[in-house]
Amino acid sequence: MKRGLKTLLLFGLAFFVWAPLWMMVTGSFMGKDEIYEFVGPVLEQREGMAGWSLLPKYPTLRAYIELLIDSPKFFAMFWNTCYQVAPILIGQICIAVPAAWAFARYRFKGKKALFLLYITLMVLPFQVTMVSSYLVLLKLDIIDTHLSIILPNIFSAFPVFILTKFFRVIPESLLEAARLDGASEGYIFLSLGVPMGAPGIFSVVILGFIEYWNSIEQPLTFLAKRKDLWPLSLYLQGITTDRTSVAFVASAVMLAPALLLFLGGQKYLEQGIAASGIKG
């Protein structure tokens, strides 16, 4: 009985997740008139109240076609997102993996203080470091280019933090054995550390993807004059209100890659979250 109540409660909580998701997906299959009837009062100043139905009355792909064929701006912004997210993730891996390896596997002077610095940097919100980033980007003359989004993020402290936790659990005896065989530190890192830390790398990539797929603050400030370089996350902002049905499709299309990656990599995502909470 008690167990049944608990399960019921959990289903109740899950409802708050699946209901909005369901609305997003069904909304994208609704026709223009249907959407207008439901959402008009909210987005287009129509009289009356908003509404919703469980299923679209006449499911249609119209809005999808309109978005995917007739919206060049959408595609431009989609590619902008790709040009920004992919280099950030690749760069982060190249920089953070060795750094985390050093923190996890070596003793050196100032390690504790340095790690504290990384944690502090991890905690600082973007707005606080915005000015200093802006000053550098200005000096480098890359404001209003893709690079202004990419470069500062590559050196993010968060992946270093997570990866350090993953690298720490590799047993030292394995590395000692390799050292006795005369393996160099670089070789040990590449042939033992990287493969064994692979789950950590995956989880950093997934957490990073979620983060940068949603980036709003940075493009807003560092690409202020080049709206043509804006990522997809800012697309809905510029959408005109008479294209409400397209707005629903756009949010569904934005959702798709994030959702796929999430479902495919949930295991690593969970490990990543769990690792960030592990002590030491």
């Binding site: 899950a14 908003a50 340095l114 707005q127 550098v136 400030t221 629903f248 999430f262």
Partner: protein
């Protein structure tokens, strides 16, 4: 005897020398691995931040030393006070609430066997749903003519314009919890799973009830999890700006005008002086917070 002793010290010295050589090798390897990251952080964060501190203490031309005048100006600034107050109020409300909600969820899921994976996926999903996708729904739900108000109308209550009244603050908290509860739940679960079950069994034998088991076993064992949870929730809390911005733009209702909005607007107006002084103040604030956490938990 003497000879033997000498031999021993010799050996010891040899070992010491060797190990100090290894230490040096280890240090060198470590710094080599760290080099790219540290160089980047130095160039993109530390060096420019030193410049920010310098700018914060000079006038806008960078010629006259003003000392703390800029800081005083910012601290007196009405917008800054509003934003700082709101941000602190937001943190003070949403952090404890989130910790509590996610802990309850973790407890519910802890002993759950049926559909456990389904629930985990469900609760983690919101963090993967893009902000831009959510915002449209938030508008639909919380607009003056939105879905939530239909409920209010049928209950015979007046309509509320959620995003343009004080309730905007509540909406922001709800959306923060909605998004982050799953993340924190996983962290709690990791902590819970780390507790040795035999502790509970032993306590059960001694006649401990559910509450005292929680009070004397679960809670103390979860303490190490809490500090990390707080830090990560703090990091994530600044991201509610995304929802707030996409729904209400640069100037939302006064109750949700956060530091993020303020910095954004200073940036648009190119208020360098204020931005620099404000950034320094915020960094000091964050540092104090971290040191506080370290007081609670030395290993952070």
């Amino acid at each position: 005897m003497k000879y033997k002793n000498m031999n021993y010290t010799k050996k010891l010295n040899k070992i010491r020398k060797k190990s100090s050589g290894m230490r040096r090798k280890e240090e060198r390897a470590a710094w080599l691995f760290l080099l790219p990251s540290i160089t980047g952080i130095f160039l993109f964060v530390l060096l420019p931040f030193a410049d920010v501190i310098r700018r914060a203490m000079f006038d806008s031309m960078g010629k006259n030393f003003l000392g703390l005048d800029n800081f005083k100006l910012v601290l007196k600034n009405e917008a800054f006070r509003l934003a700082m107050g709101n941000t602190i109020r937001f943190l003070a409300t949403c952090l404890p609430l989130l910790l509590l909600v996610s802990l309850i969820m973790a407890f519910l899921l802890y002993s759950q066997k049926k559909y456990a994976e389904f629930f985990k996926t469900s609760f983690l999903l919101p963090m993967a749903i893009p902000v831009a996708s959510v915002v449209l729904l938030w508008k639909l739900l919380f607009h003056k003519s939105g879905l939530l108000n239909i409920l209010f109308l049928t209950l015979g209550k007046p309509k509320i314009d959620f995003m343009n009244t004080r309730s905007a603050f509540v909406i922001l908290i709800i959306s923060y919890i909605w998004k982050n509860a799953g993340y924190n739940m996983i962290l709690w679960l990791t902590g819970l799973n780390g507790i040795d079950i035999s502790l509970y069994e032993a306590a059960g034998v001694d006649g401990a009830g559910t509450f005292s088991k929680f009070r004397y076993i679960t809670l103390p064992q979860l303490i190490p999890t809490i500090s990390m949870l707080c830090i990560l929730s703090f990091v994530n809390s600044f991201k509610v700006f995304r929802e707030a911005y996409l729904i209400s733009g640069d100037y939302p209702h006064k109750s949700i005008y956060l530091l993020q909005h303020l910095f954004n607007n200073w940036f648009t107006n190119l208020d360098m002086q204020k931005m620099c002084a404000g950034a320094v103040i915020c960094v000091v604030f964050c540092l104090v917070l971290i040191l506080l956490f370290r007081k609670i938990d030395r290993e952070v």
